[in-house]
């Protein structure tokens, strides 16, 4: 099996698994307990929080452990909204291609009377700091822009956007779920007020994540209950997952440069190979993109059948077609970069990890070529395009 869906989730690393085990069968106490078993778990929790803070360039007390990226996004946005609301600020700036954890939270706030401005991301999938500056108003309480996009991998100018927000005194949150462990993050230096991440995108376990919130930003609870996480996130801390996440993030940050170099080479080889398929187009900027992300649209075919046939050839991939999203519309990300419906249905996302090899990339290029060619051979649209009855959208 060739696993090329690392933006969906990753395999846990041995380092992460090993870091997890002692906290399941040995140090299993509840960190809130006063006895020694509980205090040992509490020490581990304190240690993990400090290590995560170091990796993100912030302080330990600015770290809240959550169930993952979605919860962190929800809490960051709702908290900023509640802070804004108190001084009558009910406007939020974001982008059209955020993750649904952000967009759906913004929808919820709109129903409460907030106003949301979603910025265009252009054909290359990058929002400019000037756009953010122009969109900020007197009553803006939050700017939330993702660090890197989950479908097309484009990297946003986070530090510059942070600077704009700092200058205008507006809170800045970034969904760094795809970036953490893959791109350099330094919350202080990059002017980030709040940041969300999820462990399973960098070889950690599922169901654990982090919300970083700069000192002084008052968080609003999403989950009520006990006094865990300074009273801001109730529920007994998932110590095994927290320890595994910490180990995974340390390992990813330690090897970031070499991993990035390896992935970039594989990515560019994959992009070069797939670009040779006629009437195909790369989605998102070719350079300012995650080292492991490849996203293409192929004219005349539909993504779900492409995925199923690739799966038959042993390749695990993903698509933004309507049939794979469970709705009638294709991915909002592809529509946001200006791909029309007809083209967006024929999308393919391949996301690499350090474990992939050049041989796998070569095999994948030839497999995708074969499958696209076959599906075109049975597609009535392709017949119309080739015969000139219809005009090609991708030249």
């Amino acid at each position: 099996m060739i696993y090329l869906d690392n933006a969906a989730t990753t395999k846990m690393s041995q380092t992460a698994i090993k870091a997890m085990i002692p906290y399941m069968d040995c140090i299993y106490g509840n960190p809130s307990s006063l006895h020694s078993a509980g205090q040992k778990a509490n020490e581990a929790l304190t240690d993990a929080r400090e290590r995560i803070a170091r990796l993100l360039g912030c302080e330990a007390k600015e770290i809240t452990f959550t169930s993952g990226g979605s919860e962190a996004d929800n809490q960051a946005i709702v908290s900023a909204a509640r802070i804004g609301e108190r001084s009558g600020k009910k406007h939020i700036v974001s982008t059209a291609f955020e993750h649904h954890a952000v967009l759906h939270t913004l929808n919820k706030l709109e129903k409460e009377g907030f106003e949301v401005t979603l910025l265009d991301v252009g054909e290359n999938g990058i929002v400019l700091p000037e756009q953010v500056a122009d969109a900020i108003r007197e009553d803006t309480c939050l700017v939330t822009v993702m660090f890197a996009n989950n479908e097309i991998g484009t990297i946003q100018p986070i530090e510059e956007i942070g600077q704009v927000c700092r200058g205008k005194g507006v809170l800045f949150h970034t969904d760094a779920v795809q970036a953490a462990g893959h791109l350099r993050i330094d919350a202080k230096a990059q002017n980030i007020d709040m940041l969300s991440l999820s462990a399973h995108k960098f070889h950690g376990p599922k169901g654990i994540g982090v919300l970083y919130a700069r000192k002084g930003i008052r968080l609003t609870n999403i989950i009520e209950g006990g006094a865990q996480e300074r009273g801001k996130r109730a529920g007994t801390e998932n110590i095994p997952a927290i320890m595994a996440m910490t180990a995974a993030l340390e390992e990813a940050c330690l090897h970031m440069d070499e991993n990035s170099a390896k992935l970039t080479a594989l990515r560019d080889k994959l992009i070069a190979g797939l670009s040779k398929i006629p009437h195909s187009v790369l989605n998102g900027d070719a350079e300012k993109r995650l080292p492991g992300n490849v996203s293409f649209c192929f004219e005349g075919i539909e993504g779900e059948s492409l995925l199923l046939l690739l799966d038959d050839k042993g390749i695990c991939a993903s698509s933004g077609s309507a049939c794979t999203s469970g709705s009638l519309d294709p991915s909002h990300v592809l529509l946001a970069i200006g791909r029309v419906h007809d083209i967006a249905h024929g999308s393919l996302r391949l996301t690499l990890s350090e474990e992939n090899t050049e041989k796998e990339v070569d095999y994948t290029i030839s497999a995708v070529k074969d499958v696209v060619e076959y599906l075109r051979s049975i597609s009535p649209i392709w017949r119309d395009l080739v015969s000139g009855k219809k005009e090609f959208i991708i030249k």
Partner: protein, 144 residues
């Protein structure tokens, strides 16, 4: 993948009757690229019997499987039997489709009906317009 039955996967992987019939007696195309699926059915009819049928489909796994199964079900049959083929029968023959994929079987039924309508019109055969869906007034995505 557990999304589809073995039958669906079989017809998707090895679709029957793929292709084009030159000088077909009836051609029907339904769906649109915006919605992500298009089906085109070609019929060869002799003495009211469908002697050959071919299809081309742009769409997901269940769209391709539905086209394949539907063509199998009408091949060699009388045109009145083909007229009576329902999307439900196609879905059942495939051992079921997921709820959000039922529209693929609807497309197969519609494509066959449209090809038959084309045959009736070409041959000046009187037909009952009530049995054909009025795609223009229907909000469903299969309307072209």
């Amino acid at each position: 993948m557990a999304l589809y039955s073995e039958k669906v996967m079989d017809h998707f992987r090895n679709p029957r009757n793929v292709g084009v019939i030159e000088n077909a007696d009836g051609i029907g195309e339904v769906g649109n690229a915006k919605c992500g699926d298009i089906m085109k059915i070609y019929l060869k009819i002799e003495n009211d019997i469908i002697v050959d049928v071919k299809f081309e489909t742009f769409g997901c796994g269940s769209a391709i499987a539905s086209s394949s199964m539907a063509t199998e079900m009408i091949k060699g049959k009388h045109i009145s039997d083909a007229m009576n083929l329902t999307n439900k029968a196609v879905a059942e023959a495939l051992d079921g489709l997921p709820a959000h994929k039922m529209h693929c079987s609807v497309l197969a039924e519609e494509a066959i009906k449209k090809a038959l309508l084309d045959y009736y019109k070409k041959n000046y055969i009187v037909y009952d317009s009530n049995v054909f869906h009025d795609c223009e007034s229907c909000g469903h995505c299969c309307g072209d």
